[in-house]
C-alpha cells in the first residue's frame, strides 16, 4: 500500500474528475500542451481521453473523464466516470473544481473522499472567481478536506506549476487519512459495524470504516462483491 520513497517507479497515472464544465479538458491542455477538444458547453468529453507528458523525471499519464455531478450512475457518461474510478488502477485523483461555484462542486468532492484514494483539488477558474469577488482560502479548505487544494487557472496557466509540484509530492507521500465525517446517526452505526467486524476479526483489503460506510449506503457493487466471497 505504501508508495512513499519508492523512486524506482516513475510512472504516475492521474485521473481528472470534476463536474461538467469545470475545465477539465482545458486543464489537461495547459498541463501537458495537448490539444484536447474543449467546448463552451457540457458533455464534450464522453469517453475517457488520455494525455502523456514528462515532468521532473516522471512519466505522467493524465486521464480525462466525462464530467459528472456525483458518483451515481445517472447517465452513460456518469457511469463511465464512476466505473473507471472504482475499477481501474491509478495513482491519484485530481478533483477539478469551478471556483465560482464551490458549494455545488464540493458535493462531488464528498463522493470522491469516500473512494479513499489520494486526491488533489484543483480550484480552476480562480481568475474568474477573483473577478467576481469570490475569495477562497486554499489553506482553510485544505484543513477542512484533509487534502491539498491549489488555485489554478487553465486559461492563463497560473498555478499550473504549483499544481504539478503538489501532485508529485502527494504521489511520493503516504495517503492522508480521510476527514470525511457523516452525521451523528450514521457515525454511530458506522461505529457499531466497525466494532462487529473487529470482533469477528474480518479480513479485508478495505478498512472497516469504508466497509461500514458502503454497507450503510447500500452500495450495490459492494454487496455483489461480498456475496461472492
Amino acid at each position: 500500500m505504501m508508495e512513499s520513497g519508492k523512486h524506482e517507479k516513475k510512472n504516475i497515472k492521474i485521473v481528472l474528475v470534476g463536474q461538467p464544465n469545470v475545465g477539465k479538458s482545458m486543464l489537461i491542455n495547459s498541463i501537458s500542451n495537448a490539444r484536447m477538444h474543449v467546448g463552451n458547453f457540457t458533455g464534450v468529453t464522453v469517453e475517457k481521453a488520455e494525455a502523456y507528458f514528462e515532468y521532473e523525471g516522471y512519466k505522467i499519464t493524465i486521464i480525462d473523464l466525462p464530467g459528472t455531478y456525483s458518483l451515481n450512475d445517472y447517465s452513460l457518461d456518469e457511469k463511465v466516470a464512476k466505473d473507471f474510478l472504482l475499477n481501474e488502477e491509478y495513482d491519484l485523483i485530481v478533483n477539478v473544481i469551478d471556483s465560482t461555484n464551490l458549494e455545488k462542486n464540493l458535493l462531488l468532492s464528498a463522493d470522491l473522499l469516500e473512494l479513499d484514494k489520494k486526491i488533489v483539488v484543483a480550484l480552476n477558474f480562480s481568475d474568474e472567481a477573483d473577478k467576481e469577488g469570490i475569495a477562497i482560502d486554499e489553506n482553510i479548505l485544505k484543513e477542512i478536506l484533509g487534502i491539498p487544494c491549489i488555485k489554478v487557472s487553465a486559461s492563463t496557466k497560473k498555478g499550473i506549476q504549483n499544481l504539478l509540484k503538489i501532485i508529485i509530492l502527494s504521489y511520493q507521500n503516504p495517503q492522508a487519512k480521510s476527514k470525511l465525517i457523516f452525521s451523528d446517526v450514521i457515525e454511530e452505526e458506522i461505529g457499531k459495524i466497525t466494532l462487529f467486524l473487529e470482533e469477528k476479526n474480518h479480513k479485508s483489503a478495505l478498512d472497516y470504516r469504508s466497509i461500514a460506510a458502503k454497507l450503510l449506503k447500500e452500495d450495490k457493487p459492494f454487496f455483489k462483491k461480498i456475496r461472492r466471497l
Partner: protein, 73 residues
C-alpha cells in the same frame, strides 16, 4: 406544503424529499437536500416546468418532480 404549490419568487426550506432513489440521488448531486433553501425563480406557461434556485445552482424541474419535494415557508 409541496414545492409545486409555491408561487414565482417565493422561497422555502426543503423538509422532505419523497422521490424514488434515482431522482433523490440526482437532486442531491445538485444540492437539493433537506434543509436547503429553495427559491422559485421562473414558471413556464401552464406551470409544467419550474426554474428553481438552490444555493447558487439554477435548475429546471418538471412539476411532477416538484410534487415530491416538501417544503415549509
Amino acid at each position: 406544503m409541496r414545492l409545486d404549490e409555491l408561487k414565482k419568487g417565493q422561497s422555502a426550506i426543503i423538509t422532505k424529499i419523497s422521490a424514488d432513489q434515482t431522482l433523490k440521488d440526482r437532486l442531491m448531486s445538485f444540492g437539493v437536500l433537506r434543509g436547503s433553501k429553495i427559491t422559485i425563480s421562473e414558471c413556464a406557461p401552464a406551470k409544467k416546468t419550474i426554474k428553481i434556485l438552490v444555493n447558487h445552482t439554477m435548475l429546471a424541474l418538471r412539476l411532477e418532480e416538484a410534487k415530491s419535494i416538501e417544503v415549509s415557508l
